[in-house]
Every structure is written in C-alpha cells, then in structure tokens.
C-alpha cells in the first residue's frame, strides 16, 4: 500500500511508539529497527533515517531506551538500543490510550454504518 499524506501524518506522531514496540521484542540497532518496522507492517510503514536517529536521541535523553555498543559475531560493533522499564511503562500507557482512541475514532468515522 502506498503511504498517503494522511498516513504519513499519523506516522509522524507515532514514531516513538513504533520504535519502542520494535525494541520491546529484542534490542536492535538503527538499521535493524528500520527493517523490523517495514517487515512487521508488510511494507506499509517505513520511517526515514532523518526521523529515526533524532527519535533515538530523544528517547535516550528521556530515559525510555538505553544505548549499548555490542560486538557482533562478525567482529563488527553496532550500537544496540534496549528499552528501559520507563520505556515499557510509557509504551503500555500509549497502547491503552491508542486502543481507546481507535475504538472511539472507529465509532465516529464509520458514521451511520455503526448505528
């Protein structure tokens, strides 16, 4: 599915949630996070590097993730990000609010069809 401007706007406000949801599964480095989001959304959602790296900086500053340099089996080093307990709590809260929002939005957006 091609991203419309509307979906891009939705994505903008939810980048942090997408990143944290991805890191909740396992610690990852920048490139892995981009790929994981694309794969998990069947290519529908993709965030750019220009959005990802500032978001990683912000989330680190807010204490929601923690960076950690790790040596790969190949001998290369990569900077992995790990979600912190604070990040997990914030993510849980966002999910709960998102659920309520989506249900309410659905009721209104479906209009007469829901009646």
């Amino acid at each position: 599915m091609k991203l419309t401007r509307y979906v891009t706007q939705l994505l903008k406000g939810n980048t942090d949630v997408l990143i944290l949801s991805t890191l909740e599964r396992e610690p990852m480095y920048g490139h892995q996070i981009l790929e994981a989001i694309e794969v998990a959304s069947d290519g529908t959602l993709s965030i750019s590097e220009g959005t990802l790296y500032p978001a990683l900086q912000r989330l680190t500053r807010e204490g929601r993730i923690r960076p950690r340099w790790t040596t790969l089996p190949s001998g290369k080093e990569r900077k992995y990000y790990v979600i912190t307990p604070k990040g997990e709590r914030w993510l849980a809260e966002c999910r709960s609010q998102w659920g309520e929002f989506a249900a309410a939005f659905g009721r209104v957006a479906r209009g007469g069809a829901s009646g």
Binding site: E49, P54, R61, G63
Partner: protein
C-alpha cells in the same frame, strides 16, 4: 562504509557528507564521535541491504548516503532532540538561581533553618540529577550546589577565626577548629573534582558550573566586610538581581539548540549582568564596563581554553 568495491567517487561523497554533518552537529566531542560512528555503520548496513537487492556497490553507497537526508537537516533534528530543553525543563533549570535571588532579596538567607533547607534541597536535586544521568536541567542546579562548598568554606574560615585563640582551653572549640581546618582542603577537592568531571564531558557544562561563582564570591567578600548590615543592602540587592537575571538567561541558554547560540547567550548575558553591577556602585564608565566584561567572559570561557590546550597537548 569503505568496502573494497566502492569507487573513489562514492567514498569521497561519503567523506563530504560526514564532514558536513560533523560541522553542523556541534555536539561535545565524545557524543559526536559516537554518533558519527553509528551513522557510518548505518550507511554500511543500508548499502549492504541495497547491494543484496541488486544495486552495484557504488550506487548502493550513494543511495545509503542520500537516505540520511541533507546533513544540515539531520544535524539540526539531532541537536533539537538531544539538547533543546522543553519549556518545563528550562524553567525547572532556572529555579535554583531564582530561589537564590529571592533568598537574597528578602533577607531570608539570614534565617539559618531556611538557608539550610535551601542548601539541602539544592544538593538533593543535584544528586538526583546525577543519578538520572545529568539531564539538561542538571548543570544549572549543580552550579548553585557547586558554590555551596565555597560558602561552607567561608563559614569554616569564620569558625577558625573565632576558635583559634581559645582552642586549647575548650575541647569544643578545638574540635570545631580541627573540623573546619580539615574542611577547607576537602571542599576545594570536591569543587575541583566536580569541575573536572564537567570539563571531561563538555567545556560548556564547566562554564555553566562556573557562572554563579563570581557573584557569590563578590557577595561573600561584601558580607565579610559589611556584616549584619549586608542583610538587604544595595550590594545584596544587586547580587539578587544578578541571580534573577542568571535564571532568566538559563532558560534562554537551554532553549537554544546550537552551541553557537548557547555561547552567544553566555557572552551577551555576562555583559548585561556586568552592566547591572553599576547599580551596586561599580564604575559605569565604558572602559571599566568593557574591562569587567572581558574579564568575566574570559573567566567563564576558560574551560574552552583548557580543553583546547589539552587537545593540542594530546
């Protein structure tokens, strides 16, 4: 990023990109190196992925670089995310300077329990900030905490002066004398250690740490000379005004998103606050104002010179 099969053009493009990014990032050295290394790794991984998808190595690297966007835009977003404090953080950072101003302006600093509660609050918030990994509001709080050992040193000096004569006659006086004598070098060591720790992270942090020292020492000297008359006199009110101004400048400093803007804020506010000292009777002649401004700015920016000298020596 420098795989064996990419041509000189792609390599030069990558070099140009990262040089431009470095120029615009303006982070402290360690953070900058860390981030550049991470982004270079990213380009390498992205290029590998493009090559697996069928692109030639040269095109894959060029496309991986292009995916980062304009270096100025990426650097600006990263600086914003990393340094620019929210209004809440900036206002919180201004609290200790404003509290100091209120204590001085109202004469409440003479109420020992209140002054002690103030010192303990400043110290506690500073320790909390240290535990939280030195967030953006940390150094303005730490700067006031950093002055406390100097004030305690002054009190120790008073205790020594008062007890030196009859120290041998009273064990209590002797104890106070020994404790105060031991405190003076200890206080200096603690203050020196904190300054070095700030300097190791970023000279601008050390500059922030130094900001309240000059008005605080000027006020202590005045207090020593004027005694109880210093309660709410013109000099004390001027120092209170300077601290209130420092609080306001702290907000501007933390909301600025580049180092150049932050350094400019420090220089401009120092000059403005030096001009304000003429309220306390200091000469308002242009030459005197310029001399005081130059001295203060040189003192505040001295951590930059130390860092520069250390880099050259290395």
């Amino acid at each position: 990023m420098s795989g064996p099969s990419i041509d000189g053009g792609a390599r030069a493009a990558a070099r140009r990109y990262f040089a431009a990014l470095e120029r615009h990032l303006q982070l402290d050295d360690a953070d900058e190196r860390d981030l550049l290394r991470e982004l270079q790794d990213h380009v390498s991984d992205r290029a590998d992925a493009f090559m697996r998808a069928g692109l030639a190595p040269d095109a894959a690297h060029r496309r991986a670089i292009a995916a980062l966007g304009r270096p100025e835009a990426l650097a600006h977003s990263i600086r914003q995310a990393r340094y620019a404090a929210t209004w809440r953080e900036a206002l919180f950072a201004a609290v200790p300077a404003e509290l100091t101003a209120v204590l001085l302006a109202t004469g409440l600093w003479r109420a020992a329990p209140l002054a002690l509660a103030f010192a303990l609050t400043i110290a506690a918030v500073t320790v909390w900030g240290l535990w939280r990994g030195r967030p953006v509001w940390f150094y303005p709080w730490a700067s006031i905490a950093w002055v406390l050992p100097f004030i305690a040193g002054y009190l120790a000096f008073l205790v020594i002066s008062a007890n030196a004569r009859d120290a041998l006659a009273s064990p209590l006086s002797l104890g106070a004398l020994v404790a105060s004598g031991a405190y003076l070098p200890l206080g200096l060591v603690v203050a020196g250690w904190a300054l070095l720790a700030a300097l190791r992270r970023d000279w601008l942090d050390a500059t922030v740490l130094l900001t309240p020292l000059v008005p605080a020492l000027a006020w202590l000297l005045h207090l020593h000379g004027a005694g109880a008359a210093a309660s709410v006199d013109r000099m004390t009110m001027t120092v209170a005004f300077v601290f209130a101004g420092m609080g306001a400048c702290t907000v501007g400093f933390l909301r600025a998103d580049s180092r150049a803007a932050r350094v400019s804020t420090i220089v401009a506010s120092s000059i403005a606050l030096v001009a304000a000292t003429s309220m306390a009777g200091a000469s308002a002649a242009p030459a005197a104002l310029v001399a005081r401004s130059v001295l203060l700015v040189a003192f505040l920016l001295s951590p930059a010179l130390v860092t520069l000298a250390a880099r050259r020596a290395a």
